[in-house]
């Protein structure tokens, strides 16, 4: 129990450090939010002014924007560790490797949750979707989606952080793995916005929970190998 508490303390310290560095530098915030806004606007322009069409496409656009922008966010959180040998120093601390993964994933979750909520609000405004009426299931969907992207992104950002072509490799590795989460998130959002007429919302949320659990367990078990020589 004390070992778990110690690991939780380490994870919180890492997440706090990442949040502090981001608040100070704002490297990810500006680029991520701007990118998400651009994705939403461009898809909006491409679909045209038909309000019904935009509302129907809103769940897909929401999650494409969140996932594309989320890749930037998790990548940036790992780029912090390239400061003057910081990643090696992090690996040399006498702490459990899974605690390092948990800390980085927690920071990623915070960033993704903020991003998801802001993009959800933007979708509501831009595409005239009534998100207030369905906020509890939408909030649950955003939380589960943010958790999944953070879990997958933290692992693959660890894979690519030492690569020169990391900006190219990270989406290539992440997006195929995120496909089930994207499917579940889009379907759950659609069902929530429509008032869940077919009673399918719970099933899609369960899929997202299962995805998150599998990815978090896999990340906790394997991330340490990425830090080794």
């Amino acid at each position: 129990m004390s070992a778990l508490r110690a690991e939780a303390r380490v994870a919180l310290a890492i997440a706090r450090k990442d949040a502090l560095a981001e608040l100070r530098g704002r490297h990810a915030t500006v680029s991520t939010l701007f990118f998400a806004a651009v994705v939403l606007l461009l898809f909006g322009f491409a679909l045209g002014p038909d309000a019904a069409r935009l509302a129907a496409a809103a769940p897909g656009l929401l999650w494409l924007a969140v996932m594309f922008a989320g890749i930037l966010a998790v990548n940036r959180l790992h780029l912090l560790e390239t400061d003057d040998g910081a990643l090696e120093q992090l690996a040399l601390y006498p702490v459990a490797r899974r605690a390092i993964y948990a800390g980085k994933a927690l920071a990623g979750f915070g960033a993704m949750l903020l991003l998801g909520l802001l993009v959800l609000g933007a979708v509501g405004v831009l595409f005239a979707v009534d998100i207030a009426a369905a906020w509890p299931p939408l909030l649950a969907t955003v939380i589960l989606g943010a958790l999944g992207v953070a879990a997958v992104g933290t692992f693959y950002a660890g894979v690519t952080v030492r690569l020169r072509a990391r900006e190219v490799m990270l989406p290539l590795l992440m997006l195929p793995v995120l496909a089930p989460l994207l499917l579940g998130a889009v379907k759950a959002t659609s069902a929530a916005l429509a008032g869940d007429p077919f009673g399918e919302l719970a099933a899609w949320l369960q899929l997202m929970v299962a995805f998150d659990v599998v990815m978090i367990v896999a990340g906790l078990a394997t991330y340490g190998f990425l830090l080794d020589d």
Partner: protein, 256 residues
């Protein structure tokens, strides 16, 4: 300015000769892309000694330090710190080793104080706030503690990295060119640290070209040439006989 008495952990207090060897390496070798950086290094360094690693650039000094710090793994052979295998028991070794490398491992967007507080969290330092302030004072950075490390000079960054070592309770301190980039006060700070560690019985292995500066603190010297131990002298360090003939080094799996 540094205080006259630098606080270092009392963990290693005790007569140096009564403790098991701090470092034992056996046929230690490391290849980089097939090229040997370290070849068949077999050494014993007694606890509580300060030993210099000497040699030209590329002699293998940094490679040896990085293996002992668990930053990289040996290609062949073994290394142990306080009797713990650096490859198989790396988690335990990390709790006993502090490593100052060429890179400082600091976060540019955080202040000196925030960097050290983070390090204290990771090291599980008791009384972290007090220890961080004491470390900042000891390395002469109290006045700049709230400034971003990204705005610091190379010498100031090195001071913060030295402060991080003071937060732990390592029994083995590995220093790679500790005098590099430091001004006169900084050089004196490293001298003070070497004296303090020696006083409390911490083992120090230091790679440096500043032999004259190091000389007053040294017990022994190891000279490396192109990855091979070319000479050993002084107290506290012994060259061990190789356990395998040259050309038949065992694989990592076989060695374990």
């Amino acid at each position: 300015m540094p205080q006259t008495t630098i606080y270092v952990s009392p963990r290693s207090l005790g007569a140096p000769d009564s403790r098991p060897p701090a470092v034992v390496t056996t046929d230690l070798s490391r290849l980089f892309a097939g090229s040997p950086a370290l070849v068949g290094v077999s050494l014993r360094i007694d606890a509580g000694r300060t030993v210099a690693l000497l040699g030209a650039n590329g002699a293998g000094k940094t490679t040896l330090l990085r293996i002992l710090a668990t930053a990289i793994r040996p290609s062949y052979g073994r290394a142990a710190v306080d009797g713990l295998d650096v490859d198989r028991e790396a988690d335990l070794v990390r709790g006993r080793v502090a490593y100052l490398s060429h890179a400082t491992g600091l976060y540019d967007d955080l202040t000196a104080r925030e960097n050290l507080r983070f390090a204290a969290s990771m090291l599980g330092t008791p009384d972290a706030s007090q220890r961080v302030e004491r470390a900042l004072s000891d390395v002469g950075l109290s006045a700049r503690a709230s400034d971003r490390v990204g705005d610091f000079s190379a010498g100031m960054r090195k001071r913060v990295a030295l402060g991080r070592i003071l937060l732990g309770n390592a029994s083995l301190v590995l220093l790679d060119e500790p005098y590099a980039a430091l001004d006169a006060d900084g050089l004196g700070l490293v001298d003070q640290l070497l004296g303090a560690w020696r006083e409390v019985g911490v083992t120090v292995l230091v790679a440096s070209h500043a032999l004259e500066r190091l000389e007053p603190f040294l017990d022994g010297r190891v000279v490396l040439e192109r990855g091979i131990v070319a000479g050993v002298e002084g107290r506290g360090v012994t060259r061990l006989p190789p356990t395998v003939p040259v050309g038949s080094a065992p694989s990592r799996e076989a060695a374990s």
